[in-house]
Symmetry: C2
């Protein structure tokens, strides 16, 4: 990913926040069958001083047969994004010298993938992933709410995957290359959009104004 | 991408709709420098009986120097997605035999990438991309609103890319593997979410009920 210096995000806590808030990632792999992408929700695991992504594949997905254990993979998490109309820039009125762009937040993780066939490992993973997502619900469902025999059957249909993170890159393309009055215009303009993801981008741009 | 038969979406018009509604794609490439992903907005172009994705890279992005003209690439478009809590399933009360999942819509395009260095080609592309996005705005901005000398300067800083589509795959993972009362529960549950993308997934699941 091309990341000009002013769009770099190096704060690890902020990068991990995106992984937690936007867990459905794109797992990108290269095998003898070629380039492939699969959409997998991941859970961040931080134990023993290591950072890992944990997830699972359906056993029906041939990836685990085609991609050798220990392969290098790329995992892309995407945060909020929004088309930025020049109409949001006050400098449009002043000089007319404006063009549209796209704001977005992306976190790219590189690491080594290992398969986990142990049903207990898989059960812990689905519990962690479930608890993370259910925390937003009014009455959180727990894996223990289902009969264990049924859970065992479900777990037998998946293969655990664990990716030890060797590199993490964050790109926050959030109008940093604009003068402050344009940042304010973008934050204000996007905040009026009906799409809540666009509103989240408005908040990110607005924070930049406060920080500057 | 692993696509079980019941999650396949083969209607080309529906696939192209996602490309138009979610144009910010992930361009995935393999070069001597390894596996890479870049986030690029694309415009669909359908002329001469061919389907092409058109976009541009910043000249500062080394990809156009590292990736040879004519390379095979993978472009991933992602539509709405949502975590599906078992709480949305009426069958949870009946049997307890339910587990969470993630619904999502993805369109994967494969094709051959060619660079376009012609400034006129690039101007037409940015006009098409701009007009597509500005159609949603109250007072649409047009490229012709900016001084042409400024537009020329901006165009000199990008490289056009065109991908002739050789394959397109759609995955609509939208609760088709659930009984109708669970589809209704998911549509109703997601429609109450405050996130508008989750509400869009509710509408997609709801349409399945009507169609079934």
């Amino acid at each position: 990913m091309y990341v000009p210096k002013h769009f770099q995000q190096t704060d690890t806590a902020t990068l991990f926040e995106v992984i937690r808030d936007y867990p459905l990632a794109t797992l990108i792999t290269v095998t003898d069958q070629g380039l492939e992408a699969n959409h997998i929700p991941f859970c961040l695991n931080r134990t023993d001083g290591k950072n890992r992504l944990q997830g699972h594949l359906a056993k029906g997905n041939p990836l685990w047969k085609n991609l050798p254990d220990g392969s290098e993979v790329l995992v892309v998490f995407q945060g909020p994004h929004a088309y930025i109309s020049p109409s949001h820039y006050p400098t449009k009125q002043e000089t007319g010298m404006v063009v549209p762009t796209w704001n977005y937040i992306a976190v790219h993780v590189r690491g080594t993938l290992q398969y986990r066939h142990d049903p207990e490992w898989c059960q812990t993973l689905v519990e962690n992933l479930t608890n993370q997502q259910e925390a937003r619900q009014d009455s959180p469902w727990a894996v223990s709410d289902a009969p264990q025999a049924y859970v065992d059957k479900m777990l037998a249909a998946v293969v655990g995957i664990e990716i030890e993170i060797t590199d993490i890159t964050g790109k926050w393309k959030v109008s940093q290359n604009q003068p402050e009055r344009n940042l304010l215009g973008v934050a204000e303009g996007l905040s009026r959009d009906t799409n809540t993801e666009v509103q989240k981008m408005a908040a990110v741009v607005g924070k930049r104004v406060l920080a500057s």
